[in-house]
Every structure is written in C-alpha cells, then in structure tokens.
C-alpha cells in the first residue's frame, strides 16, 4: 500500500529543521539543568573558594543535612519551608484559585455584558501584571496602619489586623489567590462554553435544579479540565517566587516557602550543592504530584 505523505509542503527533513531551534533551547535550558542539578547535589560546589574550581563528591550529605529530623522543623530550616509550602499550595491553589475560578466561571456562564467584562478583565489584569508592581500594591493593601483592608475593617467597626506580622503565611495565600485565579476562571469558562447548548435546553425542559445541572451535566464534562487546572496550578504555586517580593519569607522565616529557601541557600550563602539538593527534592515532589493527578485524570476518563 502506498503511504500517503503527511503533508505536501513539509517534508520530514524540513519539519525537523523547523523543530530544531525549539528543541535546542529546551534541551539546553530545561533538560540539561535537570541532569546537572542532580550531579551538583552530590558535591560541595560553591561560587568562590577552593570548592568552586574543583568541587568534590560528598555523597548524600547534602540530603542528610536537609532531613536532619532533630532540627529540620526549626524556623529557617528545610522542614519549616516544606510545611509552609504545603499549607501555601493547599490554601491558595487547591482550596483557593481552582474553586474560586470555577465559581466565577459558573456565575457568569451563559451571561454576557459589562459586568462580566469588568470582572474578567480585573481578574486577568491581576494575573498578568508584573510581580514586582503587584507586590508593592499588596504591601500597601494589607498594611497595618494605612492599608485599604484595615480601613474597610474599621468602617465595619472591627479591629485592625497586622497581617504581615501576625499572619504572614495567610497573607501570601490570599495574595496568591488574587494573583492566579484568572487562569482557572478562563480555563473553566472556555470548558463551559464548549458544552453544547442542547444540553441546557434539555435541562430546561425537564426542569433540572442548579445542583442537578452541576452534578449531571457540568461536572462530568469538565472533569478533565478540572484535573488540568489542579495539575498546573499546583505546580506553579509550588514553584512561585513572587511572595518573596512581599514578605521576603519573613518575619523570622514564617512565610518562607521552599523556592525562597532554595534561593536563600543557593544565592545568599552560595552553597550550590545544598541548593541543588533542595531543588532535587522539590522537583521529585512535583513529579510525584503531577503523576498522581495524571493517573487520576486518566482513570476517571477511561
């Protein structure tokens, strides 16, 4: 049987030439660092000093240092950063951005008009503005003495809250919900828009309640999107660095997440070996999370 060429315009060799630059960049700046970080994590590499020129192999001591359970939960150590990150991801991604994004998409489903345009634009702008600019805006927003939030509380006769001193982790969780909800909102909004209108007409005819519609029509059809949102938002939130611009991980490391901890170890103290070990642990957790979601996603669909 004669095999039909896949395309008249694009021969296989031309196609590979088209792919080459992208593959080169991805190989050099994504795959190579992944392999190298693993190697560095078993050495005592530093930026300066004798270990910079020829680092020596130190086995797993960088890892055992991280998991020294007698003191790892102390403020400023790895356990503390990991605990903060888990709370941060759970609060701002899984219980925050994804449900809120779905709620907004549902609230404006099959609606058009100015109100929708305003809400979607505001959320999207919060998502795409430069991190440094929104960080200053949030430093002002939650400020104890002058912040808009406390001014609103005062209007209601409630006492002031010193967010960045008393609840720094909660503050960056709320910030991150504000920052990233737009992605889930846009994703669910597109998914809901793809549901054929005839489904709604049928639901109208049989007089289905809102809950029935959600359970029997919406949820099964957007389940795959839900997992995609959970995967991507979880990974992004795990790795996000913007909270550093607001709290710097403080006060006293109480809002220090793993990326901030990595940055501090690797680029404040220039302990590259230890920083690499943290990165490896972090990526391992990310890969486990991603595989878990992917398995769940495939099983439900299949």
């Amino acid at each position: 049987m004669q095999k039909k060429p896949s395309s008249l315009v694009l021969s296989r060799s031309t196609g590979l030439i088209f792919l080459a630059p992208a593959l080169l960049f991805i190989a050099l700046f994504l795959f190579f660092p992944l392999v190298w970080v693993l190697i560095i994590s078993f050495t005592d590499t530093t930026l300066t000093g004798p270990a910079a020129a020829n680092p020596s192999f130190v086995g797993i001591s960088n890892y055992t240092g991280l998991f020294d359970f007698s003191r790892w939960m102390r403020l400023g150590n790895f356990g503390n950063a990991l605990r903060n990150t888990i709370i941060f991801v759970l609060g701002s991604a899984i219980l925050g951005q994804v449900p809120l994004g779905l709620a907004i998409a549902l609230a404006f489903h099959r609606r058009k008009g100015l109100l929708r345009e305003i809400v979607f634009s505001l959320a999207t702008i919060a998502w795409i503005l430069p991190g440094v600019a929104v960080a200053f805006a949030w430093i002002a927003f939650l400020d104890r003495d002058f912040g808009t939030f406390n001014a609103l509380l005062a209007l209601l006769g409630l006492p002031k809250i010193d967010w960045y001193f008393d609840y720094p982790l909660l503050a960056i969780i709320i910030f991150n919900i504000w920052r990233g909800t737009a992605f889930s909102m846009l994703l669910f909004s597109a998914a809901l828009g793809n549901i054929p209108p005839s489904y709604w007409e049928t639901a109208d005819v049989i007089g289905a309640s809102s809950w029935q519609r959600f359970r029997d029509i919406i949820f099964p059809l957007i389940r795959s999107n839900l997992f995609t949102a959970l995967i991507l938002v979880t990974l992004w939130t795990f790795n996000v660095f913007t909270p550093y611009l607001i709290t710097g991980g403080g006060p006293l490391y109480r809002s220090e997440t793993v990326p901030i901890y990595t940055y501090r170890v690797a680029f404040k103290f220039f302990e590259f070996g230890k920083g690499a070990a943290i990165a490896v642990v972090m990526m391992t957790i990310n890969f486990i999370l991603a595989s878990f979601y992917l398995l769940m996603q495939r099983r439900r669909v299949g």
């Binding site: 896949s6 809102s210 999107n225 690797a266 669909v301």
Partner: protein, 279 residues
C-alpha cells in the same frame, strides 16, 4: 416558593459578584492614587496635593530610565522574538508531521517546564551561563527565558495551527506556488493572529520576570526595571513611596495596554485546547 428561591439566588449572585469585584479591584487602587500624590503613604486616598513631580523625578533618574526603556525592552523584546519564531516553526512542524503521541508529548513538556523552570533550575542554569560566559549579559537572560517559555508557547500555538486545514497549503502548491511563497502568502496571513497572541504573551512573561534577571545580571547598567525599582529606597532601607509607586505604574502600564489590545482585537480567552492529555 419558586419565586422566592429565584430572588434568593439573584441576591446571592449579586453579593458574590460584588465581593469578587472588590477583591480584584481594591488591592490595585494604591498603584493608581499614590503616584500622583506628593505626600504618598501606603494609604489609598485621592491625592491632597495632586502632582506629576514623582514622574518627573523618575525621568531625571538616568539609571531608572535606562532600566525601563532599554534593559527591560531588550530582554522582553528578545524573548518575544525568539519564542514567537521558534514556537511557531515547531508548532507548525508538530501539527503537520505524523509523530506518534505528539499530543501527550506536548502536554508533558508543558508540565515538565512548569517543574524545572523557576527556582528548581536556578543553580544549574547559573553555572551553565557561568561556563558559557553569559553571566551579566542580555543573551544570558533572554536564552533562559526562551527555553522556559517555549514548551507552553508551542502548546498554545499547536492548537492554533491544528485549526488550519491542510488544503490551504495543498491547493496553493497544486496551483504552482513555490514552498516559500506558500509560507509567505498563504500560511503567514492565517498564522498571524496566533503569532500575535504568542508575541504578546511571551513579552508580558519576560517583562514581568524578576528571578532570572536577579540571578544573571550583575552590573547596574544592565538591570531591568523590576530590579532597578529597589534603588528607590532610603539609606535606612524603607521604600520612597512616591517614586516606587510612580515607577511601578509606568512599569505596569504596557501590560495593561497589551491586555486591552488583545482583548479588543481577539478577545482574551482560552480556546478549547487546554484540556490536558487525558483524552
């Protein structure tokens, strides 16, 4: 009973929408009021002494102007060109070649880049650039940004190319056009909207980047805006709010304009593509 429920639903809907609008709008107000206030604090208030002096002060600061109008534009512009060109080529090839499992592959690559890009790869990327002698150079920052953004860029563009029927190119070829003519006269016009979105997206990503420049750039003359802003601090380490807010506003405005442009021209929304590899 039904009527009552309908009103209750309307009421809660209204409360929810009002809450959401407040939540997304209120934190941004300070960026709009403080820059015009001669005595800006962290309070949001209609400026008692309305002024443009904060902006004038910034434009007199050559370091800050250079960071914004040269360094940030070079970095974001270079990244934009690289991502748009390479992602379009790759996405087109992926859509037209028969490679088995390419959909899953493209999706896994996006996940992979989400894990590796950012803080996890900081150490090896720093050492890589160090050995390539690219520390403290524009290409150093630009290349890292391109590498990190390409998987998602290809993913976005692939969806767009998949919507263009092959018959476009085939009929042009049958009628005797040369391949490069097909590329220029047939493909480029239909790919342009997708490339525009890709360009805006990658520009905005690179424009907002803080971490990679922080690690790679060393000399003040090459610092982009998000790092230069930290020069508006007093000796005691507190930000000079008049300057910080004004600089933040100038730095943020291009992103707002680009958003408004894309939203007006194409509608800012996701198309069906982001479903994931699950089906």
């Amino acid at each position: 009973m039904r009527g009552l429920r309908k009103y209750a639903f309307k009421f809660f809907w209204g409360v929810f929408v009002l809450f959401i609008m407040g939540f997304f709008l209120l934190p941004l107000l300070w960026l709009v009021t403080a820059p015009f206030d001669a005595k800006a604090t962290l309070r949001v208030a209609i400026p008692s002494k309305f002024t443009f002096a904060n902006f004038q002060a910034i434009f007199r600061n050559t370091f800050a102007v250079r960071a914004l109008f040269l360094n940030s534009i070079v970095i974001a512009g270079g990244t934009m060109l690289g991502v748009t060109l390479f992602a379009t080529l790759a996405a087109y090839a992926l859509a037209r070649l028969n490679i088995r499992g390419r959909d899953i592959l493209a999706y896994l690559l996006v996940l992979f880049s989400s894990v590796v890009q950012g803080t996890a790869a900081m150490v090896p990327i720093f050492l890589l650039l160090f050995h390539l002698k690219l520390i403290d150079t524009y290409p150093g920052v630009i290349f890292v940004l391109i590498g990190g953004l390409l998987p998602t860029g290809i993913f976005l563009m692939r969806d767009f190319v998949a919507g263009i029927p092959k018959s476009y190119e085939e009929s042009a070829l049958v009628s005797g056009a040369r391949p490069w003519q097909v590329l220029r006269d047939v493909l480029l016009p239909v790919l342009r909207p997708g490339m525009m979105v890709l360009a805006v997206w990658s520009f905005v990503q690179a424009w907002g980047d803080f971490l990679i420049s922080l690690i790679v750039m060393r000399s003040p003359a090459k610092m982009p805006a998000p790092i230069a802003i930290y020069s508006f601090y007093t000796e005691g380490g507190t930000p000079v709010l008049t300057l910080v807010s004004a600089y933040s506003l100038i730095y943020a405005l291009p992103v707002v304009f680009l958003y408004l442009f894309v939203n007006w021209r194409y509608g800012f929304r996701f198309f069906g593509g982001i479903k994931g590899g699950g089906r």
